[in-house]
């Protein structure tokens, strides 16, 4: 792990085959932690501009459109925050898994199932048990979505603990299974029976299952506040609780953690379940706060976005917020960019990949800007083990 402030990573358990980290002054390490992602993003934007120019479009106009679309008006800012809200949850989930040495590529499927379960309970529960007050219905919907995501996350954890099957492949396979299951249910049993409805989606959820909006005429909703609270909760959980310590221990050195008496298998399951829970909550919040229903295809791409955010944040829970805001701004500004400069919205995925590249290969950025090395390189994963 790269988090040097923790006693564990720097002193007790250096990762195998790597020399002990050199002592780095705290202030300089903190500066690097901020400077590297900022420079990575700047470099990615320049490289993206070159790609736009190569295609014969105007990069400045494109970025002007991106800026107008994401930040130039209260409505644009509100939409950026709306985009960033699920990113905070899923980014936290992937970051949490990184602390346990686990790579969760399954946020997309976990989010899709969370949204599906939340939407189903949101519209069907009053019909099953009678009218519900909002204080009961809304928490129930959010909790059910969270649990659905947790269950979907626990499966690859359990498989890894029991059989050693790697979570990278299983989380990806479960994405496809979840999306096919959601597609089946939204086209079949859970489809909105309204004769005017022509697409695969559920009916609208009850009023009591909805998160309140934060401002009139804007789509900004209370999910954002929940996201901020969860960021604090995850930070506290990772750095201030016994479970968080155990998760970081299995991430830093599983053999040492097991030798110290930690239940490795159970911790693998719990870590991925918690990671999935956050993605499931993201799906439930999208349904309860924004769309008021589940619709086929809305979860597409959230898995890789979550990975980009967690990496940009260097797996730090507090870093997830600026990373989520950045990606939210890119996604939100993309439509305006396409309209103004004729650059397809897909460019933001290229930008995302470039940001990922310059964050992961920080040595490139260091060389480019002649930054001194500060601490060991980022290592999140360990091959197939």
């Amino acid at each position: 792990m790269a988090q040097q402030p923790t006693i564990l990573a720097s002193e007790a358990a250096p990762s195998p085959s790597r020399p002990r980290a050199r002592a780095v002054p705290v202030a300089r390490a903190a500066l690097t932690a901020v400077a590297l992602p900022v420079l990575a993003v700047a470099t990615a934007l320049v490289a993206g501009g070159a790609i736009i120019a190569l295609a014969g479009r105007d990069p400045l106009l494109a970025y002007e459109g991106l800026w107008e679309g994401c930040c130039a008006s209260p409505r644009a800012l509100s939409e950026t925050l709306v985009w960033a809200t699920p990113y905070v949850f899923t980014g936290l989930g992937v970051a949490l898994a990184f602390h346990g040495g686990l790579f969760n590529i399954g946020a997309e499927g976990q989010l899709a199932l969370g949204a599906l379960v939340a939407a189903w309970l949101g519209y069907a529960l009053p019909g099953l048990v009678g009218p519900l007050p909002a204080v009961v219905h809304l928490p129930l919907v959010l909790l059910a979505g969270t649990l659905a995501g947790a269950a979907w996350g626990a499966v690859p954890g359990w498989l890894k603990a029991r059989t050693g099957a790697h979570e990278v492949i299983n989380t990806i396979m479960l994405n496809y299974v979840a999306l096919l299951a959601v597609s089946y249910l939204l086209n079949g049993p859970l489809r909105d029976p309204n004769p005017l409805n022509v697409i695969a989606r559920t009916p609208e959820i009850a009023l009591g299952a909805r998160l309140p909006r934060l401002a009139p005429d804007l789509r900004l909703h209370a999910g954002l506040l929940l996201a901020l609270v969860m960021t604090g909760v995850v930070w506290w959980g990772v750095y201030r609780t016994t479970l968080g310590f155990a998760i970081r221990a299995i991430g830093a050195n599983p053999a040492a953690a097991r030798a110290a008496g930690m239940p490795l298998g159970r911790l693998l399951v719990v870590t991925l379940a918690l990671s999935g829970a956050l993605a499931g909550l993201a799906g439930a919040v999208e349904v309860a706060g924004l769309n008021y229903r589940d619709e086929l295809g809305f979860s597409l791409g959230y898995g890789f976005d979550a990975i980009a955010i967690a990496l940009l944040a260097r797996a730090q829970p507090l870093g997830v917020i600026p990373a989520a805001l950045l990606l939210g701004a890119l996604r939100n500004g993309a439509a305006r960019m396409q309209f103004l400069a004729g650059v397809p919205v897909d460019l933001v995925v290229v930008l995302e990949g470039l940001i990922l590249l310059f964050v992961a290969a920080e040595v490139l950025v260091r060389r480019l800007y002649r930054l001194p090395a500060a601490g060991p390189p980022l290592v999140f994963t360990r091959g197939w083990r």
Binding site: L159, I172, F304, P344, L356, L357, F380
Partner: protein, 348 residues
């Protein structure tokens, strides 16, 4: 890879074919179903086989490659665009040549993606799984962006055609199963590459060096092998093979490109490589197994069964998970797989 496991996988293929016969016996005669299943299996297993071989090259040299999906996608798009351009330049009389140019371009695209991965993983020693993810995201982004930028006004065009079906002389004339041996060139090349890779890996000096570098790079280094060079070459070769897999999607299977069209095949190929115990023959048998599951899904639709298509569509993915879980730690990756090698670093 034990011979027993190889046999078990082929038995699994036979069981899946038997399931297809049981499901479709009212619509079609049994021999016709068997022939159709085997032929489809070989077809759809092609990108899996090639992807898994790409993985074998990389990982035997100690570089984890989860970017196979991205390599395939980039190559599928690159080959598609090159075939279109060649067709526009050469005209309708040269459809075959245009397609050949496309295949060549796809293979080169894969090789370039391999060089990119090698630069990150070998030269800069970036976390290998993250590097693969970077490659995957860039591939999704670039192919999506370029396909919309290039074909914004015209809409997505079609390639000049697909590669022709070849009849293997002798085998294709056999009664009942002859149709199995009517295959397109990339499917046949995949079979040849399985044998070739096996030979290179286990019967040449280069293969020995590759395996040494993947198991114990320091020992290999001490013996005078250039670890970085061996890894670079193998990752590029892996990329070339993955590029051929990419060509399958746009030049052999369908004559068109759509964003995200690889649809997780690269990851299933990776699972096939693991299930095949990091060996070419094992990877091929595992690819056939996953291919058979996909063939069952395709054939089941033509039987007009009442099962929803989404549920049948889960089959290959579920089988992949089941197969991986069934290994229960009996499959061992190369010892140095996933670990960057720094010749100047002290052993710990």
């Amino acid at each position: 890879m034990t011979p027993r496991r190889l046999w078990l996988m082929l038995v699994a293929v036979a069981l899946i074919v038997a399931a297809a016969v049981a499901l479709g016996r009212e619509q079609m005669a049994a021999p016709a179903i068997v022939a159709s299943m085997l032929r489809t299996t070989l077809q759809v297993a092609t990108p899996l086989t090639l992807g898994a071989l790409a993985g074998v090259y990389c990982e035997r040299a100690g570089v984890v490659n989860i970017g196979i999906e991205g390599m395939m996608l980039l190559a599928a798009f690159g080959g598609f665009v090159a075939a279109l351009a060649a067709h526009a330049a050469l005209g309708d009389a040269a459809v075959g040549q245009s397609l050949a140019v496309g295949v060549l371009a796809a293979v080169l695209c894969g090789g370039l993606a391999g060089a990119f991965l090698a630069l990150l993983c070998v030269t800069y020693r970036v976390d290998q799984i993250i590097s693969g993810t970077v490659l995957n995201v860039l591939a999704i982004g670039l192919t999506g962006y370029l396909s919309r930028q290039l074909f914004f006004q015209t809409g997505m065009p079609h390639a000049p055609g697909v590669l022709p079906t070849l009849r293997l002389p002798g085998l294709a004339d056999l009664p009942l199963v002859g149709a199995v041996f009517e295959q397109q060139p990339i499917a046949l090349a995949a079979l040849a590459l399985v044998v070739l890779t096996h030979g290179v890996l286990f019967h040449t000096v280069w293969g020995l060096r590759t395996r040494a570098v993947g198991e114990h790079p320091r020992a290999a280094d001490t013996a005078g092998i250039d670890v970085a060079r061996v890894r670079w070459v193998n990752v590029i070769v892996g990329g070339l093979v993955a590029g051929l897999a990419g060509a399958y999607f746009t030049l052999e299977s369908v004559p068109s490109f759509e964003p995200l069209m690889t649809n997780g095949r690269g990851f299933i190929a990776l699972a096939a490589m693991i299930f095949g115990g990091w060996t070419p023959l094992g990877a091929w048998a595992a690819s056939l197994m996953f291919g058979a599951a996909q063939a069952l899904q395709i054939n089941a639709q033509s039987f007009g069964l009442a099962v929803p298509s989404q549920l049948v569509g889960m089959l290959p993915y579920l089988l992949t998970m089941l197969a991986l879980a069934g290994l229960a730690g009996r499959s061992r990756p190369p010892a140095a797989d996933g670990q960057p090698y720094d010749p100047h670093e002290a052993d710990t």
